[in-house]
């Protein structure tokens, strides 16, 4: 059920930055899709990654764990991560888990790209 509820798209927003558009759910079952998107972004030469959560419907603890895995991989490649489009609820969860200290949080794509 949950596997089909995740969608990821990758686009180069500028020469060095890729945006990963996340649709639907972020759970442990989303890991293959997110990691494939990350690899695609890296292949495109992204030195910085922006996660677009504006079409996120649901994220659980498994999804948070998956974001930690992504952070570890991106840190190894010295690729900073940013995010935008989080609802107040998920912003609070990012604060609780301290993900907001490791991932720059912005209100919109323009700010995230400028950051």
């Amino acid at each position: 059920m949950d596997k089909s509820m995740t969608g990821m798209g990758v686009r180069m927003a500028d020469r060095l930055t890729s945006v990963i558009d996340i649709r639907g759910d972020v759970t442990a079952a989303s890991e293959p899709a997110l990691m494939a998107a990350y690899e695609e972004a890296s292949r495109q030469g992204a030195q910085r990654l922006v996660l677009n959560f504006s079409r996120l419907e649901y994220m659980n603890s498994g999804g948070i764990g998956m974001l930690v895995t992504l952070l570890v991989r991106a840190n190894r490649q010295h690729q900073p991560l940013a995010a935008y489009g989080l609802s107040d609820h998920y912003r609070e969860i990012f604060e609780l888990t301290r993900l907001d200290e490791a991932i720059g949080i912005y209100d919109d794509e323009q700010s995230a790209l400028a950051g």
Binding site: M1, D2, A28, A29, Y58, N60, S61, G62, I64, G65, M66, V68, T69, L71, V72, N75, S87, D88, H89, E92, I93, L96, T97, R98, L99, E101, A102
Partner: protein, 166 residues
């Protein structure tokens, strides 16, 4: 001194879900539907939904071992001042198991990023931070996690209670 009897919490919903992936989404929607008339502020309702989903997911995966033939039983009550959600699985085995806070390692992002901790283990941490109370009871193989969320806060008229909702 005479004591005023507290009315028993009123049951708002009672349902059982199969232990299959995705049932936690059904649980959070059904719980949200059952408390909709209480007009919790959206932020509080989202917290309750997240906690219910996490407890249900743990009940499915760790309590019932993903056995579809074992149900997760969920009940929702309203006491007049708080919402109570109970989630029961079949993995008690005489101890709190996955819901044992004393056994759970506190997730630490720095340790996770340095590889000292695995990336997961956020479930119990999230549950504790989303609701006002969490209590675990075990009776034989039946483990019940009881979540509480207040719908009132102190500070109403004459030091009474003020409803949190809109």
């Amino acid at each position: 001194m005479n004591r005023v009897a507290c009315p028993a919490p009123r049951r708002l919903a009672s349902f059982a879900l199969a232990s299959v992936p995705g049932s936690e989404r059904v649980a959070l929607m059904q719980v949200a539907d059952s408390v909709a008339h209480l007009n919790l502020p959206p932020q509080r309702l989202n917290k309750l939904k997240t906690a219910v989903a996490e407890v249900t997911m743990n009940a499915i995966e760790h309590g019932n071992d993903n056995r579809a033939d074992l149900a997760v039983d969920i009940e929702v009550f309203y006491s007049g001042t708080e919402i109570i959600v109970t989630v029961t699985d079949h993995g008690g085995c005489g101890d709190p198991g996955w819901a044992d806070e004393d056994d759970a390692e506190i997730p630490d992002l720095d340790r996770k990023l340095s590889g000292d901790q695995g990336p997961g283990g956020w479930g119990l941490f999230l549950i504790r931070h989303m609701v006002d109370g969490m209590k675990v009871t075990v009776e034989g193989e039946r483990r019940t996690v009881r979540l509480t969320m207040r719908t009132t806060v102190p500070g109403g008229q004459a030091g009474g209670l003020r409803h949190i909702g809109g």
